[in-house]
Subunit: 409 residues, 2 copies
């Protein structure tokens, strides 16, 4: 078995990415991660466990040694059978020149690299454990990923309706306007509306791609990706030159879910890919919101499924999305706590309503008559009539009480 | 203080309702409950506790004796202060001729009486405890109340939209067609649509009124109430001649909630009266469903509030309403259990998808090339290619593998 391309030859290309070669350990980690990202498909847990256990360069040496079950994978807790099958799936790529290819594209296009050793590495993806990206390729400003600002993932169907697009844009603009980064997948439909609306208010938005970040996929969003990269970031764990395969779209969704402090699904058919993102958010313990829509709309069926079966929270405006980010808000906000109660098993006992019910606009009634009609004591009725008189809702003359007109408010 | 109208004079009128005078205890209970229903407003818990403790006739005697705190209320667990204030609110009605008036209207209009002693008494309202109706006045067939058939309350806004009316009608027709009684409040909008759709499929529907059942309120539903009474029932706890006051509408809602094995709110503004019915259902431990709608529609705001704040279940079709009635259904139905999973934090591992991703329609590729592209072992790729070949999704010749067209399904 070969040992793959000579990594040292790639070092000048790494330098071209603006990486610091002055720290040899760091440089070797960078390069090993780049090679790893060409070797393993996104979310390869065996690769992730091995790298976390011994570091990317040693993990690469162990993988290239291709022994049945060396000490390092064992120490990393990787079962023997998983190790064998991982070696089998990495082997076809061991000799491929993808790393050099990816690096050349990245250097030519000004694409940046982020690894967990970088300050701008988005810590949120670490919650993915062994499934976290090995590295991230960034078109745009890596700083928007490292900033501790709140982020929300807004995702949904490509085949969105006008309703869904309107809602996605409203929510995204409102959230981005409050300084919350909007994360999405750059697709047509809901994703595109969310990105565009965030840009429209001068907010930050991040597009997570399923293929290399130098590709515009879909091609119709070429300009949109340019605009996103100008102030935010277009990112991918797939190296430059990598194709956006179906499988990578699904794997990419876990990164969207991890980057969002909460995930909101705006519109989704019963089998929309955005339900997959929602599933990742739920599995990560991230709050999940779903925007309801007409039950007659197939484009909202997936959202309703999330509400019914996956305990998603029904969200209808940006405030409710912010509550998702910080569930404490709901209970700490006295305004929300003071929302009128929906009712209780005991019938209502609003005596003023009962007295008002017993008044007529046309015929004058005595307090005794009103008490009888209201089913209240005469004393209680007289007290309530006094209050209604003050409010202008009752009127009194020598013939008795009548309904008045409430004072203009 | 007077003792009120001589009850014995009213006995012939009770007989005219078709009640059995041959059983004197039963007849006195009937009459006492009729008088009580004229004396106390709906849901008067002090009246309910006293009647439950000593029976309606003795309760009436105790109330008429008007002692500050006699033995009976004490034994019934009624606090002294509550007893005093109850006496105060009943006093103005002690001398009123309402009972005779109600009985005369009922006899003339063929309106029936139901008390807890009747076989047709709807046991579901007993869950209201001391707030349960003292008796019920029925226009139509009392048997539909006593039948153990399932019932669902469908309620919603008077100011319904075309969407809400459409959904209410669809749900009601489907449920009524399955033999489930549809309970509602007879109002314009959602209520009326629910009643009409149930009638349209020859189903059973019950309208619960806030005033006497001989009144058509709203007047525009005069014909509808006739049609409901012809096969179902128009009922009220308020005696004939009683006005449908605002307060009685709210109290009436608890009866709708109690009669429904589940309550479904179809469309409701943020402060709709149907939220009050929903609150009663929740307080009774009855399952509560809410139909979502566009978040841009004020008519759905109340439903969304129920979903967000009151743990209502999102319902989008009749099957889901049936699940509310019997929550076990959801988990017993293998079809529902087999619904495709939304996803997990681990990335998807559908190897067939990865192999399909790596195939091209235009260029032929070797298994080794495909393995490299898919990030899988050559052996695994060959196994999957075999399956895809069988399904017609892959095509093979001497130059290698390509994407095929799946067989027509």
């Amino acid at each position: 078995m070969t040992t793959g391309p000579d990594d040292t030859e790639l070092m000048p290309l790494v330098a071209e990415l603006g990486r610091d070669l002055g720290d040899p350990d760091r440089a070797h980690d960078d390069l090993a991660r780049i090679v790893w990202s060409c070797l393993a498909e996104p979310g390869d847990a065996v690769a992730g466990m091995l790298i976390d256990a011994v570091g990317a360069p040693d993990a690469l040496r162990v993988a290239r040694s291709a022994r049945p079950h060396p000490v390092a994978p064992d120490a990393a807790g990787i079962p023997s059978a998983d190790w064998s099958s991982a070696l089998q799936r990495w082997r076809p790529r061991m000799t491929a020149p993808d790393a050099g290819h990816a690096l050349r594209i990245a250097a030519a296009r000004g694409i940046r690299l982020l690894t967990p050793a970088d300050d701008d590495w988005p810590r949120a993806v670490d919650d993915l454990g062994p499934h976290r990206p090995i590295c991230l390729w960034v078109r745009g400003d890596p700083a928007v990923l490292g900033a501790p600002a709140a982020a929300v993932a807004i995702v949904g169907a490509r085949a969105a309706t006008g309703y869904g697009e309107h809602v996605a844009a409203e929510l995204s603009a409102e959230l981005a306007g409050r300084g919350i980064a909007v994360v999405s997948g750059g697709a047509y439909g809901i994703d595109g509306c969310a990105h565009r609306a965030a840009l429209g208010v001068g907010g930050t938005t991040i597009a997570v791609m399923a293929g290399g970040v130098e590709r515009a996929y879909p091609a119709g969003h070429t300009d949109l990706f340019e605009r996103i990269a100008a102030t935010g970031a277009v990112i991918s764990e797939v190296p430059c030159g990598g194709a956006p395969t179906k499988w990578r779209f699904l794997a990419r969704n876990r990164v969207i879910a991890a980057l969002g402090g909460a995930t909101v699904v705006v519109e989704a058919g019963g089998r929309s890919g955005s339900l997959n993102t929602a599933g990742h958010a739920a599995a990560l313990g991230r709050p999940l919101g779903a925007v309801p829509g007409p039950i007659t709309s197939a484009s909202s069926a997936g959202c309703h499924r999330l509400l019914r079966e996956f305990d998603a929270r029904c969200v209808t405006d940006a405030d409710e999305v912010v509550e998702l980010l910080d569930p404490g808000t709901l209970f700490d906000d006295p305004g929300l706590r003071a929302a009128p109660a929906v009712g209780s098993a005991a019938p209502p006992t609003d005596d003023t309503m009962r007295v008002r019910d017993a008044l007529s606009r046309r015929s004058r009634r005595s307090a005794e008559d009103i008490a009888r009609r209201a089913g209240m004591s005469t004393g209680d009725v007289e007290a309530r009539l006094g209050l209604l008189l003050l409010a202008g809702e009752a009127d009194r003359n020598q013939d008795g009480w009548a309904l008045g007109s409430p004072r203009t408010r």
